[in-house]
Structure formats: C-alpha cells, structure tokens
Amino acid sequence: MLTGYSQDSDQAGDNQEAYSFKLDYNVPESPAFAVLDANPTTIMRASTPQEIITQLASNFLSGNEVSPGLAFDFNPYFTFGGRLKSVKEYRNSYGKRFLANLQLSFATINSMDFPDDLLFSGGIRATLFDSKDLIFDEQLGQDIDNALLPNDTDEPGPMNSDDQGTVVDNPALKEAYINAKTRYMEKAGGSLALGYAIAGRARDNSFKTDSIVTYRHQAWLVGQYDLGKSGMSINGMVMYRYDQTPQTTDNNGLISGIALRKYGRKLILSAEIYHDSMKKSIDFGGYAEAYLIPSITLFVSLKKETNAITGNEDVILKPGIKWNFSQAKK
C-alpha cells in the first residue's frame, strides 16, 4: 500500500488546512479492533469507509496500563486487482459498490488481560446501504471536473512529452471538497453495515500452530441516521458475540445499544448506552474525537471495562490516536 509517486512540495501552510477538506471525520471503526475491544466506543458507525486507515491503540496519555496495538484496514477488491469502469458504474451497480466498499481489517494488540500473549484479529465489514455516500454527490463530480480542466496556459506544445507525469496541488479541488463537506454535514440520511470478526491469542507471543487459539467470534449489524443540519447522528447496533476466555467459557450473547453523536468540523462528541446479555448489564460510555493535527485523530473515551482475568469492572479513561495512512503519504 506504500506506493510512491513524484509530487511537488506542499505550499507553506498547506498542511494546516489539509484536514479541513478531507471527509475523514466519519470513518467507520476497524472491525478487527472491535473484536479485541480496542475501539474507543462499543456502538459502531455504519457509514461508507473513506480511506485506508492505520489505527494505533494506546492509552499512553493517561499514564495507565499501556496496551499498544495496531490495526490496518483496506479494501480487498481494489487491492487484489478489482476494477471499476467508471463513477457511473459505482452508482448504478450495487454489486460493484458492495465490493468497492468492503473493508478488510487486521489487528494485533498487547492486552493486560493476557499479559504473556499477543492478541490478533481479523475482520470484514460490508456497507449494505449509504444514502450519504460521497460518490453520489453529482455537484462534487462537476466541481472536480471543472477543477481538472487545464488552463490555457497549460496548453500542450506540439512535441509535448510529459508521459511520466507529476503530482501537483490544485486549490480548486480543495475548494470542491470544502463545499462537499458542508453539503455532507447538512444532509440527512442513513446507512447500514454488516460485520464479522474473529480474535485469537498467540500464547507466549509464539505463532507456532499449537500456541494459537481463537477465543472470540462476533457478527454485527449497525445502522446510522444523520439528522442533517443539527450535526446530530443516531447509531443503533446489534452484535452477537461468542466468547471463550478464562473467565467466560463458551459464553455467547447479544450486545445491543444506541449512540448519539454530535459532529462538529473538528470535534465529534458521542454518548452511548448498551446492553450486554452475557454480563446481564446496562453500560454507558462517552467519547470525544478531535481533528487538530493533519493525518492524526486524537480521541478520548470513558467506558466501563471488565478485566478478563480478575473479572473486576472499572470505568477507564482511554485516550488514543488514529493515524490516517493515506494522508500521511502527503
């Protein structure tokens, strides 16, 4: 995925505004992190994936126990050679759109629950429906086309030979996305997504066959409805989880709940309530996500967590970061 290309250097101050026109603020959570309980929230988002994302899980800012982890999410269809004829095909073909929006995810994490082991996971997520999918924004398409049309000063000479090409800044493209972001935030609409993930343990950090055990499977359906101009969003989720930990042998049940999110341009606030039929408890959580530094999303969550070994429940403040791999290439 680390593909390189030649490009002009950024103009001064360019990075300062880079995050402001990216539509990366509604990026769905990593399925692989979800099964490891490494996501800062329990109730996930249903929107279309936007980028190739690498997420780092860490609560280093709190000074508590460190649980470093890494998740890598990508689209398998395009990564393994899938093709799309055009934007029109994306809009008209449900099958191609389904494939283009698949999200495959892998993660590892060092958990305090299993201090001698490395936890790893894999997951897949499919967007079944998204009425706010950016690719359907025809105005954005027209704005991009207008921005791409060369000026008269860029007219090619008779012996033009720039076959290699160069990547250059185009301020009009940025403008098109700033306008698209405003339309996106003000538009009401819903989305629906389905996910599955499996988690395993490499005992004593060994990846020998007899050292690897799977301990959790989960599948979930999540719906999201954005109310429009208010910037509010309602998410609902139903998840089936099969768990096999030292504390919960052959435990299975449903985790279901709702989340209310308030989307600002640089800050997202979220509150959630969910029922866990395995623990027979109703829990609450809070979450804030800030876009203050290009390529990096800072977040902090407050939620009740159960130690898998001791069974103790604690309300934990967990700061962390998400690193947008695609933007980092800039």
Binding site: K85, I135, V168
Partner: protein
Amino acid sequence: MPKSNYCLIDPDGGALKVKVTANNGIRSGSIFILWELQNGKWEKKEKFNVITGDDGVDEFILLEKPSDIENDSLAWSINACSMINRVERGEFNITVIQDEEKRWTKESSRLVPKCSDGKQLKFGNHVIFKHLINENFSTSDLWKDTE
C-alpha cells in the same frame, strides 16, 4: 496496434475520432491541440476540452480532413485524480479511430492522487499523423507516378 508516437491513417478514409477513457472512477480533464507545421513553424489548428466525467469516457472528432493531416501533431495535457478514496491506480486510454477501426492506441496504468487531497496527476504526450501507403498500389504504378 502501433505503440510509437506515429499514427498511420488512411488519407481517403473518414474523419478521425479521438476517444479518451479513464477507469476505476478516476476523473480527468484535458486539453487536446492539433498542431500543423507551416513554413517551419508550428501553428495551432484545433483545440478540444475533454472531460471523462461520471462515464469515464469522452471523445471528439478532428475537423481537419485526413488527407490534409499528415505530419500534424495531436498533443494533449491531462489532469486526473481519484474520486473513490480506496482507489490509487487506474488505466488511461487514448485511441484514434477512423471508420470504426482503431488506428492508434496509447494505454497507461498510473498511480493517481486522491481528489480529496487537493492534488492531481498532470501528464501529457503527442502523436504524429502519417498516411498509410496503399497496400494494393503496385510498384509499376509507383514508377508511373514518378515519370
């Protein structure tokens, strides 16, 4: 199909159509200019704006007659970016068509920046038109022409 910068056309055939395609949801905007060498100096004869847009395809027809186009240069400059954020690469095709027959094609697979990054890939090239020699033209006829 020739891959050089020379496009062989039938001087007695129909008008030349140029078709531009970009796949994978990549959007492109470009300028094509037909240049003619007159008295050692290149003169601009025709200009076309080409936008592949939602369909990923656009085309135009050169007004110049094929019989008058020999040694003319068709040059282009293309700007492109990916509207679908999961897409990093796409295929571009420029095809010269005469009487439904492909006379010349330029294919390229390129890494393309994301439109949402505010960046575009800029590239370009040119092709020179040459007249096909009629295969049925006998050597004796050629000698007659020179006499």
